[in-house]
Amino acid sequence: MDQKRVKKEWSLVMDERLYGELRAHLFPDDGDEHGGVIIAGLAETERGIRLLARQFVPARGGVDFVPGKRGYRALAGRFVAEVAGRCADDGLVYLAVHNHGGTDSVQFSHDDMASHLRGYPALLDITHGGPVGALVFAHNAVAGDIWTDDRQRHALHHAQILGLHPHRLYPEPLAVAKFIDPMYERQVRLFGEAGQGLLGDLKVGVIGAGGGGSLLLQMLARLGVGHLVAVDPDRMDITNYPRIVGARRRDIAWGMGTSKNRIIKLLGARLARPKVHVARRVAREANPRVRFDALYGNVVDAAVARHLIDTDFLFLATDTMQSRLMFNALVHQYLIPGIQIGAKVQADPGTGAVDDVFAVTRLVLPNSGCLLCNGAISSAQLQREALSEGERRRQRYIEGEDISEPSVITLNALGASQAMNDFLFISTGLLKPVQVEHILMSPRERTMERVRLQQEPGCPMCSLSPGSLYGCGDRGQLPCRQ
């Protein structure tokens, strides 16, 4: 038996669309009980074990949900056998679902638990070790009984509903008393002590600690987010110094990297600080209590990506298509809400004259249309980025060659600030009813454009098509470098 697993907190994560389907089926205003199964993925992390709700399979009344022999109702044997078989085939978790009356608290009855005892050892076998389990919902509460292959049972701590208006369900109301640092007094007036406490409990990842990422990380720290993870494989240099908040001359080795002397130049490159270390220093100055994981590495590497699978929110602030694909995969495979920011200065390749300038903030929420569906991931650029420098040179790519694009802090700040307000208002429940959209800001015209999203039915990342990554967690394959 894995002792660590016994002690870890079990939670359930589901997107608000699935939760809506579930609620509509369980609570159709007839006062009766209804049932079904949630098929889920799993993420085993330091912070606990997350069940990732991928799909809800409703049990049809009178066919799949029938009068019980030992209880009031039952999920019919054939329904159980079929859905358990599907979970087995896909390596996913079987979670039986039904509802009770009541509002803010719920628990399993004696009959419910007796049924689990009878039937779940068999389901563990069918699903090749599970886990398997049951969830019981009230209007505003959920309890869970999760079985693992060591025949241990684990109670569900909470369910997290994701979306523009996230919230949590517990088995019973949680009394929360937190110390709120007086330095947050002014922002607490906006979102309350509960909101500040919530921010303190969040773990937020930022992929990219350059111009955009450094702004995000500083703002996250100043807001009081409790745990930050920053990922970037680069060191500082003189050309990004103007855009990285809190950077010091020492971080770029006082400009030694630009020396004409080859040895000094090499030394300068070695002494230049990794961007994530600069971000960590800046974050700690803003909030000495922040926990900051500075990952000097590439998100495309599996060992680095794994540090992000238990984040509560994920930002992307990079230029590479490979990292964009990884971000999209993490959001949908591990059900993590995300935002991508970017800024672009389009210049005429011949004359260098500036054509267009824009900043973009893309909300990327599970089950709302991903970056793949919306044409933001170039398959050609993915292929190009995987080549060695020599291969790229020999194969003479004309477009997207390694030419540094124009970049300036004010543009980065546009995207970062929209993203941070999106994050803040989503997390603290202050967002008004809006659509999940991409926002394109054109500062030269002083305009803003909203881009509605689409979702491709067969998307291999965000749809429920067979073999898709959605909600698979550890049971799926991230598109990582081996």
Binding site: G68, Y72, G77, A84, G85, S115, A134
Partner: protein, 93 residues
Amino acid sequence: METQQTIGTIRPEVKTTIDIEVNSRQVVLHQREVTGHDIKAAAIAQGVPIELDFLLYIVDGHGQLEPVNDNQEVTVHEHERFRAVTPDDVSEA
């Protein structure tokens, strides 16, 4: 002319063993013609955590389920897969 007679020939006993799967666990049967009840009883005797009143299904090559009733006789084949489950009861809240 001598006639050879075989008296009291000992023939080796042909013992049938058929390996099947019940809920992904290997179960050994000793005859090909068995009932649903026989399959469940053998599975229980060999440690599969089910009960005799569980519902039994055979899983075909496409993953489709065919019920096998307690009194229904079937001819089992090597590595055939069966699934045994019980309805999941819930109480009135």
